[in-house]
């Protein structure tokens, strides 16, 4: 339930929300391309979530204990078959995932159609904000990676209700086929979650370094390559299955390759900061923390990408620590940065900088106290998915620290919630452009009117508001090559 909730009902809706709110503002249009379809996507996701949680009220699960789905977020077959998961909990899981992934697919169609069809006058693809570019990559990934999940879920439903044998190992079905289909979705999915984080960092870092992004074209190229390569690395989740050696080599190589464009991005963000007049305000602090933590998460990712290393540590707490480092240390940090950055635009009021710094530092400390020790617990052999263990394995200290870290993180989140509530009522008025930004969303009022813009500045470069504020030294003088 935790994994499913976080991926499908926290991560994905947050990303869809960011896209729906910011893309029309950034490209200077009134709404997404298909507003009614968009509403359908939203309600499908919402009711998918309600369906999942209503499982608590339903019949017994696998072991007759509780009714929530109890097959894990990747729901390996044949555990999910009727014989091993009687009751309805697994069906709740299947149907809610099909609903929410349909919702995500609809959002993806909308993102692509909006970005390709509704850009304002003068905004060529070359001048489109990198945020929107990266969301286009995400949308493409959703379009090709969600169907394998949906297809596998349909097959599982056929197995469970019509007696089909796709994943029924007793009748020549294949459990490994489920793993392939699931990870064919599951691996691109982690990039679908992560690239929006990159997108936020790419908007925030230049504004707070007072420099244009370094290597704009390289950034676009790197995003597209991540989008494509990540479709071909899924089986690095399956080394412990015993795939042929050639397959392991192929997927290990692909996994290494993804590190290259990701590295390019990290260098570009650093080069953007280099020599800049950096303003260490809360959104920027979150982005800097992201850079360090995502680097470490990337390194443990490369370690796990090496098949023999993974044979040793697959399904251990090292894996748990690795992906929480990417998703908490990487994604969650950037999303908080994004909230501090765009909250003034959406509400017209600033979040408190003092509370923001408390939130940031407590979360940072809590995060490291929680997740750093888990790497070592994993290296010492602590497996995933256990709720207790015998004493004397050497895991106690690490878990003790980890538990206390959670308390610190919870305090940070409480401060954040208080910050939001308090700032909504008493926050300092934001004005149109509190950060001295360069993209179109800062050209309208905060909060923007229903129709977003009454009038728009002319777009002649990738930083239209810089051109407007600095008519003596506009960007378009230097971007001629990209202007055609």
């Amino acid at each position: 339930m935790h994994g499913t909730t976080m991926v499908f009902f926290v991560g994905m809706p947050f990303i869809a929300g960011l896209a729906n709110y910011l893309i029309p503002l950034m490209i200077g249009t009134r709404d997404m391309a298909f507003p009614r379809l968009n509403a359908l996507g939203f309600w499908l996701t919402l009711f998918g979530g309600i369906l999942l949680y209503s499982s608590y009220l339903a019949w017994a699960g696998t072991a007759g204990q509780g009714s929530a789905p109890d097959v894990g977020w990747f729901a390996y077959a044949p555990l999910t078959e009727k014989a091993f998961s009687p009751g309805t909990s697994t069906d709740f899981w299947i149907l809610s995932i099909i609903m929410s992934s349909t919702g995500s697919t609809i959002t993806a169609v909308n993102i692509l159609a909006t970005a390709l069809c509704l850009r304002t006058k003068g905004m060529t693809l070359a001048r489109m904000p990198l945020f929107v570019w990266m969301f286009c990559v995400v949308a493409f990934q959703i379009l090709v990676a969600m169907p394998p999940l949906t297809a596998a879920q349909i097959m599982l439903l056929l197995d469970r209700f019509l007696g089909a044998h796709f994943f029924d190992t007793a009748a020549s079905g294949s459990a490994v086929l489920w793993m392939h289909f699931f990870w064919l979705f599951g691996h691109p999915e982690v990039y679908i979650l992560m690239i929006p984080g990159f997108a936020c960092v790419t908007e925030i870092v230049p504004v707070f370094s007072r420099k244009p992004i370094f290597g704009r074209a390289a950034m676009i190229g790197a995003s597209v390559s991540i989008g494509l390569i990540s479709l071909g690395v899924w089986a690095h989740h399956m080394y412990t299955v015993g795939l042929p050696a050639n397959a392991n080599i192929f997927f290990a190589t692909g996994t290494m390759l993804v590190g290259v464009p990701t590295g390019i991005k990290i260098f570009n963000w650093l080069a953007t900061m280099w020599g800049g007049r950096i303003r260490f305000q809360t959104p920027m602090l979150f982005c800097i923390a992201f850079l360090f933590q995502f680097l470490i998460a990337g390194l443990t990712g490369i370690m796990l990408g090496v098949a023999p290393f993974d044979w040793q540590l697959g399904n251990s707490y090292f894996v748990v620590a690795h992906f929480h480092y990417t998703l908490i240390g990487g994604l969650l940090m950037t999303l908080f940065g994004a909230i501090y950055y765009w909250f003034p635009k959406a509400t017209g009021r600033m979040l408190s900088e003092t509370l923001g710094k408390w939130h940031f530092w407590l979360l940072l400390i809590g995060f490291h106290v929680t997740f750093d020790p888990l790497h070592f617990a994993g290296l010492l052999g602590m497996p995933r998915r256990i709720y207790t263990y015998p004493a004397g394995r050497g895991w106690e200290g690490f878990n003790y620290f980890s538990s206390w870290g959670v308390v610190i993180q919870a305090a940070a989140i409480l401060i954040f919630v208080w910050n939001v509530v308090d700032s909504l009522v008493r926050g300092q008025k934001a004005g149109n452009d509190p950060w001295d930004g360069w993209t179109l969303e800062w050209a309208t009022t905060s909060p923007p009117p229903e129709y977003n813009f009454a009038e728009l500045p002319e777009v002649r470069s990738s930083r239209p508001l810089w051109d407007l504020k600095h008519p003596e030294d506009p960007d378009w003088k230097y971007e001629q090559s990209a202007a055609s």
Binding site: T29, R30, A33, F34, L37, T105, A108, V109, L112, A113, T114, L116, C117, L118, R119, T120, K121, G122, T124, A139, L143, V144, A145, M146, P147, P148, T150, A151, A152, I154, M155, L158, L162, G163, A164, H165, F166, A171, S172, G173, S174, L177, F181, L184, N432, D433, A443, F453, A454, E455, L456, P457, E458, L468, K469
Partner: protein
């Protein structure tokens, strides 16, 4: 902040430089559909020859020549209908569109006949073996797309019969014909995999 260089928000001007959103939307839809079908085709190929017990494809499947001819020619008549619509020849459009619907319906009827024979004579159901599992799910997935396509085609046809003005809807009707062509193209793949390679 001064808005000296502001441009008015003019929708037609906005969209002049960009792509048609309907086309982009339908292309995206077809892309996900391709991905969806690829998974079912992969499953079919993966399980080829892995059924421990019969009936096997070679024993029970016959090549559905007539149904295939009907479905593929329906793509042709759909295109003729769209050409008629572009020239505002509404009678020609209705005629060709109607024939498209009949051909699609005949394809479905043929599938129904084939399934009845498989179930009643050969005793092959979705739960008999992995051949039955993958056969019914792949062909059924395609047939369900035919049903959706036929429903939409019929909707347009009935609206036309009732005297609705279809000419302003030309763009949408063309996009619908793209979907129909896609359904036919998928059949070429399904046909090749199930009835040629898999038999």
């Amino acid at each position: 902040m001064s808005m000296a260089a502001a441009v008015p928000l003019n929708k037609t001007e906005d969209e002049a430089q960009n792509f048609d959103r309907g086309k982009v939307g339908v292309i995206c839809l077809l892309m996900t559909e391709v991905a969806l079908f690829s998974i079912f085709v992969t499953a079919y190929i993966f399980f080829m020859g892995k059924s421990p017990t019969g009936p096997y494809p070679a024993d029970v499947l016959t090549v559905p020549v007539w149904g295939t001819i009907c479905l593929l020619s329906s793509s042709l008549t759909a295109e003729l209908a769209v050409l008629g619509l572009r020239k505002n020849a509404m009678r020609r459009f209705q005629l060709c569109w109607g024939i498209t619907i009949l051909l699609g319906a005949e394809f479905l009827r043929q599938t129904g006949i084939e399934w009845r024979k498989l179930i009643q004579v050969d005793g092959l159901t979705i739960s008999t073996n992995v051949f039955g599992t993958t056969y019914y799910s792949l062909v059924g997935l395609h047939a369900s797309h035919v049903v959706i396509g036929l429903t939409l085609l019929t909707l347009v046809f009935v609206l036309g019969l009732r005297g609705a003005s279809l000419a302003p809807q030309q763009r949408r009707i063309e996009l619908l014909s793209w979907y129909w062509h896609f359904v036919d193209a998928v059949w070429v793949v399904v046909f090749t995999v199930v009835y040629i390679i898999g038999r």
